[in-house]
Each structure stands twice: as structure tokens, then as C-alpha cells.
């Protein structure tokens, strides 16, 4: 207490600053630097070349991948948030006793290995999967359906299922913190339950909604596991393409440039969504 509080604070924070903040920032900066380098087969040189960024911007293939990734991520995030909202509302308002029970039940799946959750969809939608052998067994089809797996839709379904529970907690926290008397006041002033929801509850819960959206959108945008496992050639997403540059394709500058571009683009879109929705909700009042 008698040494400066600032000094004590930074002393306590030093390990975490070095390990997390400096390390992460350092590595990301390295990526930025690497993106300006040049690569010829196995040799990588630092330099100042905009070749990779040219490729990123010019290449139609990259653009297609980015669009597909953005599209899938957007659909997954919106779906997750919309589906999760009533659930969060339920736990925040309709439950008074066993809240912890409901919360555990709802968030438990999000802690089970991501890899395994995607694997389960392979079991369901695969050539010899649950859906196919079930339909075959019932006599509804004679040959297994092939279109169920290895396409962007299956990727989106699996992603939505995997990420959905992540939307619940931020929205729940936001709803739970709300002052209930505000809703009552709106009712006193003449708003029916639906209107008071639109004018009071929804706007006040927006921070949670935005947090949920961003939390899901950005990681999903650059996802690797799901497209790699069940995306097939038509379901490739940018995360897979980036990983390839650091593996088989061996093009580090391109990979770095793509990684940076992905991060920037994903954050930008998330910001736009947040601002856009804020305007929309304000207009609805």
C-alpha cells in the first residue's frame, strides 16, 4: 500500500504481460513483417515486397474463399445468436431456483472437445452415417445420399452446432444485470409486453448480443477443423488455405498476409455489424 500502487500492480502483471500480451503481439507483428517477405521454394527471405498482398487482393480464388468464409461465419453467428437469445432469456427471467443447473447443462457442450463435436456430425451425415443408414433401413432411399457431407452447408451446420452454446452466456450475463424495474416502468407507462421488450429489454441486452456475435464470428471466420474434416473441396475456408501455406504449399509470406487480412477483415465486419444493429434498434424505438 505504501509503495506506489502502479508499481505493485505491474509487478504482479509482469509474468502475464510477457507471456500473453508481449508474446502474442510480438508474434503477430512477426506475421506482419513476414507478409512483406519473399519466398522461393524452401527459402524464405525478409524483405519488402508487396507480392503477397497483391495476391491476396487480386486473386479471385482468395476472394471467393474470403466471401465463403465471411458468409458461413455470418450465418453461423446470426443463427447462434438468434437461437440462443430465447434460451438466455429463459434462464435470466423464467428460472429462479436451479439457475446453476440450467447454466451448466447449457454450457457443458461448449467445453467438450471441438474436434469431437465435429466428428459427431461426420457420424450423422456421412456416407454410412446415421441419416443415410436410417433412411436406407426405413426403405426411403435405395442408395446413400452423397450430398449430405463435404459441402459448405454441412460446414455451416456443424459450426452452428459447435458454437451455439457460446452465444448463451454473454447474452445471459447482459440480461441478468438489467434492472427489472425498468421493464415494470415501461409497463406502467402503457407498453404491452412485446413493446416493452423491444424498447427496454432488447436495447439493454445489446452489449451481450454484440459480445456473443463477435465471440463467434471472428474465430469461425478463420476456422480450420470443421472445413478440413467435413468441408471437402467445395467447403474449403480461408483457415485451411492459410494452414496450407505453412505446410505443404510452403508460402510463408502469402500465409502471413492471408492471416493478417483475415484478422482485419473479420474484425471489420464484426464492427460493421455492431454499428449497423445499434442504428437499427435505435430506429425501432
Amino acid at each position: 500500500m505504501f509503495r506506489s500502487q502502479t508499481a505493485s500492480a505491474y509487478l504482479l502483471l509482469s509474468p502475464v504481460i510477457v507471456t500473453v500480451i508481449l508474446a502474442l503481439v510480438g508474434c503477430l507483428l512477426l506475421l506482419v513483417v513476414a507478409s512483406f517477405g519473399t519466398q522461393s521454394y524452401l527459402d524464405f527471405d525478409f524483405g519488402f515486397s508487396l507480392a503477397s498482398y497483391d495476391q491476396v487482393i487480386e486473386s479471385a480464388g482468395v476472394r471467393k474463399l474470403m466471401l465463403r468464409s465471411a458468409g458461413i461465419a455470418a450465418v453461423v453467428s446470426l443463427l447462434s445468436v438468434l437461437l440462443a437469445y430465447p434460451v438466455a432469456y429463459f434462464v435470466a427471467f423464467d428460472v429462479s431456483h436451479n439457475r446453476l443447473f440450467w447454466l451448466i447443462m447449457l454450457t457443458l457442450p461448449s467445453w467438450i472437445s471441438y474436434l469431437l463435436r465435429v466428428l459427431s456430425w461426420k457420424l450423422i451425415l456421412g456416407y454410412k452415417g446415421v441419416v443415410n443408414s436410417g433412411l436406407e433401413g426405413l426403405g426411403l432411399i435405395s442408395k446413400p445420399l452423397e450430398f449430405l457431407l463435404y459441402n459448405p452447408t454441412s460446414v455451416a451446420i456443424a459450426l452452428a452446432h459447435a458454437w451455439a452454446p457460446f452465444a448463451i452466456l454473454p447474452i445471459y450475463v447482459s440480461l441478468q444485470r438489467m434492472d427489472r424495474s425498468l421493464i415494470q416502468m415501461a409497463g406502467d407507462l402503457g407498453d404491452g409486453p412485446f413493446r416493452s421488450f423491444l424498447r427496454v429489454t432488447l436495447p439493454l441486452s445489446l452489449p451481450g448480443v454484440f459480445a456473443a456475435f463477435v465471440l463467434i464470428f471472428i474465430p469461425t471466420f478463420g476456422d480450420y477443423v470443421t472445413p478440413q474434416l467435413i468441408g471437402g473441396p467445395s467447403g474449403v475456408m480461408i483457415g485451411v488455405y492459410i494452414a496450407m501455406q505453412f505446410g505443404a504449399s510452403n508460402n510463408i509470406p502469402l500465409g502471413s498476409a492471408l492471416a493478417i487480412a483475415t484478422m482485419v477483415l473479420a474484425s471489420l465486419i464484426a464492427c460493421l455489424f455492431v454499428l449497423g444493429t445499434k442504428r437499427l434498434v435505435r430506429a425501432m424505438r
Binding site: I21, L28, S113, S120
Partner: protein, 265 residues
């Protein structure tokens, strides 16, 4: 209206758990292939786990990495949360956000960033690099737990301890630590699970010493190995459930406070 919501939530839960439940379901299936209806019940696949080559090695690797990552991230996060929850200093908000932000980054980006750093600085890929990566990755989770833990406990208690004569270090051991213990345990369990299940960073950074998820991934490309993978997956799922539920219950217990002033004398 609320009954409608409840029905919706129950349906939601069912759809959430249904796909995952197929894994244990087919782990006991007496056939290399998935099919409906079931062919028969067997424990062969689970027995086969003991003979699977490389499995025990991968398991050992995962346990080592998870142990290192959980302990180090929890220790660092506890110190950090202590600072941000109790002290006033410039940059407090910024640092708090910066410590939680990595959760929102695509893991692939973190993975390639670390990969570049290691390869360009000549550090060979090994279990050690995975451990370092997991340490970084788990800290935001640990920080979240410890921050809410310290926020839930009044700072008055530490001040009272010091007022009664105990200097800061002794106050930490007599008051802060015992009261934070449930949170610390919860954080350890949570980060252990996160590290144990983590795939992408381990995949990029492990080279010859795979962790369990990486091992599973490599086996997934063989159709006849599928039941084995399912059996393994079932055990992992079971373990995760126990760890997470335990961690949440402990966290709840750690926030217990004495009753606020009531009306009796």
C-alpha cells in the same frame, strides 16, 4: 409464454446433446461401420485401446502439457487478477481487455503466428513449444475465472487483515488465498480441460510428439480405426464433463459470503 420458452429450451438442449451422444452410442456398437439399427453391443473397442500403438504415448503427452499449461496459466492469471481487481493504476482497463481478447482470435492465426516465431528463431518444434502455446492460450480462460472470483470477494477483507496487523504477504496467505482457493481449483480444472482438448495449436506445433487430439486426428483418416477413435472419444468426453461440472460447482462455492445484515439483534 414462459412455458413456451421452457419447451423451446428443452428442445434446444436435446438438439445440442443429440449429435454428441452418437459418439458413445457407436463406441459400444458391434461393427466397424455405423448403421441404424444397431447390430450389437460390445466392449471390444475399449479393450482395443490398450493395445493401440502410440495411444498411451499421446495420452502421456497430453497430460504433461495440460498439467504445465494449467498450473502456469492459473498462477499468472491469479497474480494478474489480483492486480486488476484490487489496485488502481493507469492502463488497468486496457490490460484487462487485452488479457481476455485472445479468446476471440481465430486459433489458426495464433497457431501460424507462433509457428513462424518458432521456426524463424530456430526453435525446434516439440512438446515444449506446444506447452508454451497452451500456456498462452489458457491464460485468458484462467484470468476470466480468477477475475470474477476476486471481484466477488470484498477488498475490505484484505484491508481488515492488514489493519489487524498482518503485512501484505501474510494477508495474502491468511485471507486472500484461502478465500480464492475454490476459484483457483476451478481455474486449474478448466484450463486443464481446455489444454487437454486443444487441437489446432498442438497440431501445428508438436511435430513428433503428438497430443491426444492430434493422435485422434491422425487415426480419423482410417475408416477401420473409427470405432477405436469413438471409444477414445467417449472416454475424453466423460472426462471433460466431470472436470467442467466440478469446476463450475467449485466456482459457485467460492463465492459464498456471510449473510448481510438482518433484523435481529
Amino acid at each position: 409464454m414462459s412455458r413456451l420458452r421452457k419447451a423451446y429450451v428443452v428442445l434446444y438442449l436435446a438438439l445440442l446433446y443429440l449429435p454428441i451422444s452418437f459418439i458413445p452410442l457407436f463406441a459400444f456398437h458391434d461393427s466397424v461401420y455405423i448403421s441404424f439399427p444397431w447390430r450389437g453391443f460390445t466392449l471390444d473397442w475399449f479393450a482395443g485401446l490398450f493395445e493401440a500403438e502410440g495411444l498411451l504415448g499421446a495420452l502421456e503427452n497430453s497430460l504433461i502439457v495440460a498439467a504445465i499449461a494449467s498450473v502456469s496459466s492459473t498462477v499468472m492469471a491469479t497474480l494478474a487478477a489480483l492486480a486488476t481487481a484490487r489496485l488502481r493504476f493507469p492502463g488497468r482497463q486496457a490490460i484487462s481487455i487485452a488479457l481476455l481478447a485472445p479468446i476471440a482470435l481465430p486459433t489458426v492465426v495464433i497457431g501460424v503466428a507462433l509457428l513462424s516465431a518458432f521456426s524463424l528463431s530456430g526453435v525446434p518444434l516439440s512438446l515444449g513449444t506446444v506447452a508454451m502455446a497452451h500456456c498462452l492460450f489458457c491464460t485468458p480462460f484462467a484470468y476470466g475465472v480468477m477475475l470474477s472470483q476476486f471481484r466477488g470477494l470484498s477488498g475490505d477483507l484484505e484491508q481488515a487483515s492488514m489493519d489487524l496487523g498482518e503485512p501484505p504477504v501474510r494477508t495474502f496467505f491468511r485471507v486472500t488465498l484461502p478465500l480464492a482457493a475454490p476459484g483457483i481449483l476451478s481455474s486449474l480444472m478448466l484450463t486443464f480441460t481446455v489444454s487437454f482438448d486443444e487441437f489446432i495449436l498442438a497440431f501445428f506445433l508438436s511435430s513428433n510428439s503428438p497430443t491426444l487430439p492430434v493422435y485422434m486426428w491422425s487415426q480419423m483418416r482410417f475408416p477401420d480405426k473409427l470405432p477405436l477413435v469413438l471409444a477414445l472419444a467417449t472416454l475424453v468426453i466423460l472426462f471433460s464433463i466431470v472436470a467442467v461440472v466440478g469446476s463450475q460447482l467449485l466456482r459457485r462455492q467460492g463465492r459464498r459470503r456471510p449473510a448481510t445484515a438482518s433484523q435481529e439483534g
